[in-house]
Symmetry: C2
Subunit: 481 residues, 2 copies
């Protein structure tokens, strides 16, 4: 696996797994301890097949008490642990680097409660996002987040990585919608902050520290989350724009005219659409433009929403912002249009090796990075594409090549990070740092912030057993706490 060579790390002096350890776990959770080489294999490699660990043990607890017992034991024995949800992460955060024990939330998939008056769902960490959404839809609600990996990703992993996705523009981030968490700390003690209150100002908001900490500060075992009502009317428009400037102007116009019903504003360049068509055989409803945007509205009154949308489209066409387009109001066509956007990641993997970047930038500069990168790399890259959540200032920059090469990576990095830092952007908008990006944190965070993060890590996980080699650069040698 190429990236491991690049990001050379040394195994920390954790204990090695012994037969007695496995025997302990088998007594603790009989039948839910995976040791066979073949069976463990799938847990060792990430979805992109870009990083691979060599764990010999997967544990599948069903309860918080079991997670507590596992961590208490590992803490005592100095065994490293890799918490794993649906293993859909894109930065190598969800698989072991060496022989860490994999703690999978796959069997922690119970819905604990749902309150129809408040819209508050409480569930175990291993619930699959799409299953939760289906459950909620039956009751007239939806999950406040949605992403391409919804069919496999776990809500615990979503929270641990502060997943963004397609609904953030409308419903905000998990930092607002997650109301409570239950977390097991490195020493096995359970921290119960699983409240179901919209507002609670009694002391520091501890749960925030675990949101986005990528399993390095504690293992999330249950989540309380505020879910919005299912919109009565959904419309999707897929439009072609002749320049990125027009993509931006279309955004400003639609935000003003669609207002509170705008629920997504995604963009993608022509190359993305070519790849989706070529590799996945999806048919394209609109062609011949260098840029495309997908606009979604979600509202409570279909007549009003359609009127707002058609007023907007009329103006966008009349003023030349948009040159071509199609609109969908029925579920099937809406899904087809969303596929064109959601399946870009998948189409890219058919190209060969993919260098993935997930960047936050001031929205006006979003596509300059793609243009600059394309010019810089010339023919050494197969394709350089840009797409993403324009409404949130989030660019997904992807570069493909037949296979991995050191020299191409050297041409991309640290250029891409320096470029981003030059615009005060973030080198990880929503994917996290995981294993692959952790040494680049200083491009987006001042040294003092990194030191403070290391102090939190040292305080909450003094032995460093939780998801080692992830998120934070190696601690400096001097004492931190």
């Amino acid at each position: 696996v190429p990236t491991c060579e690049r990001y050379a790390v040394r195994r920390l002096p954790f204990a090695r797994l012994e037969d007695g350890d496995v025997a302990f776990f088998e007594r603790l959770m009989p039948g839910r301890v995976v040791t066979g080489e073949e069976e463990v294999k799938a847990f060792n490699v990430d979805w992109l097949k870009s990083v691979r660990g060599c764990s010999q043990l997967v544990l599948k607890p069903q309860t918080t008490a079991e997670v507590s017992q596992v961590l208490r034991y590992c803490h005592e024995k100095n065994l490293a642990v890799n918490p794993q949800g649906g293993n859909t992460g894109l930065v190598g955060g969800s698989v072991p680097v060496f022989d860490e024990i994999i703690l999978s939330t796959a069997l922690m998939n119970k819905i604990i409660s749902f309150d129809k008056v408040s819209g508050i769902l409480v569930c175990q960490a291993g619930c699959v996002l799409e299953r939760l959404n289906e459950y909620l839809e039956e009751q007239g609600f939806v999950m406040p987040l949605d992403l391409g990996a919804k069919g496999s990703c776990h809500i615990g992993g979503n929270v641990a990585t502060n997943a963004g996705g397609l609904r953030l523009l409308r419903y905000g981030s998990l930092r607002g919608t997650v109301l409570g968490l239950e977390v097991v700390l490195a020493d096995g003690s359970a921290l119960d902050c699983l409240t179901s209150l919209r507002k609670d100002n009694t002391g520091y908001d501890l749960k925030q520290l675990f949101i986005g900490s990528e399993g390095t500060l504690g293992v999330i075992t249950a989540v309380s989350i505020l879910c919005p009502q299912k919109p009565k009317a959904v419309n999707v428009a897929f439009l072609g724009c002749q320049s990125f400037a027009k993509v931006l102007e279309t955004f400003t116009t639609c935000r003003a005219m669609l207002g509170e019903i705008l629920s997504a504003y995604e963009f993608m360049d022509e190359k993305c659409m070519e790849l989706v068509e070529r590799h996945l055989k999806l048919s394209r409803p609109v062609t011949g433009s260098p840029f495309y945007v997908l606009i979604e509205t979600s509202g409570s009154n279909s007549t009003h929403d359609e009127e707002k949308l058609s007023n907007f489209l009329e103006q966008a066409m009349a003023s030349g912002l948009v040159t071509d387009g199609t609109v969908a109001t029925d579920d099937k066509k809406i899904k087809e249009l969303w596929s064109l956007r959601e399946r870009i990641t998948e189409a890219l993997t058919h190209e060969g090796y993919v260098y993935k970047y997930d960047i936050s930038l001031p929205v006006g500069k979003l596509y300059d990075l793609v243009t600059d990168m394309r010019a810089r790399l010339g023919h050494s890259a197969k394709s350089v594409v840009g797409y993403g959540h324009l409404g949130d200032g989030n660019l997904h920059l992807n570069i493909t090549a037949e296979s991995y090469s050191h020299s191409l990576l050297d041409a991309i990095e640290p250029f891409v990070y320096e470029w981003t830092a030059g615009c005060s952007g973030s080198i990880s908008a929503e994917h996290g740092l995981g294993f692959k990006k952790k040494q680049f944190i200083q491009y987006s965070k001042p040294q003092q912030a990194v030191v403070l993060m290391q102090q939190f890590k040292a305080m909450l996980d003094p032995k460093g057993i939780l998801n080692p080699y992830k998120t934070l650069p190696s601690a400096p040698k001097r004492s931190l706490c």
Copy 2:
């Protein structure tokens, strides 16, 4: 001042202010050091006049560098500091308990930048909320929070206390809308997390720890905040309901029918309206109901919004949920209706001494606490009233008496906290714990969470100089870190 007797605390062994200290500060910020007894007086007492400190010194820095120098000096000399914004807090968090130096943000009132494309405002901590909102309105935006104290409260104080207020139902909490913070830590070092990005997943979200920490972990010096567009149409309905059950059913109905344009759902009981009429001479548009609700819609199309609202009102009247009501669409009448709700706090102060409680509860049980308290206190209280942000499950329970009495307080506390804990509610939904509520934290937080909070405090402020005696109960004697 009555509450000080109740919450007996002992002065911690901080250094006493000496002439040399004052001389140092006068060299650092000439003309912005307040020492006269009369001039300092107003900074020593809270808005409710319920707690009073005896500080002899107020410092008014203008820059982050000055705040750094002040804290570095105080840290070195072991001088305690009370950070103070607009001093509008309701739990005694914003005034000194003993002789802490008051660090006022009053002169840190500069707007640093505003970006019209993204709606992101960056400003110093001492900007007054209402001034910021006026500035934004000129550019077609609004602040994502609004509260009764807007004319005096500072944005830094709002963030430090995680203020909720009247727009939370629509725009979410500050945990989602605050994008970045600049904070000066106890030792004087400045932590720059003042990013202006909608999304940033590079490491732990440090700023969250300072949001709602009431000045005990650091002094917020600047804020970056995401502001929504100013709604094109605002409507307010003021309705009477014959029972609290109907208030709840009206909420469910209006949430379904108004959907994305619902921006506030406030309730108040008849007694509140009587007090507002009697003490403030406000005229009441609707009378004769035991409960009233104020519903606000904010949207982008006045025709659509009015249609949605009138459909809802028709149904609410036809089904007997609502028995009487009035609707406002022009600014002046909207302000008058909002006054009936916003000025309840002020009206209550005319009654004598006010015992204030700010409780989060499952929405269905919200008024049971008022009823139970009224029955419990009988004639020993002058009035027992309930109002608040029903849409957020937030009750403001207020009890008045001619003057403060120990025995009445004993009848209220800890009953009110036990009742709340029995429903897994929060004893402080939005006001914070400050000085007056800190010893009750265990009613809403498990012991382990409190210990963890104390560890964070010990790590970030090892000498405990920042806003001492606030938020957290006194640390147990054993070492914490």
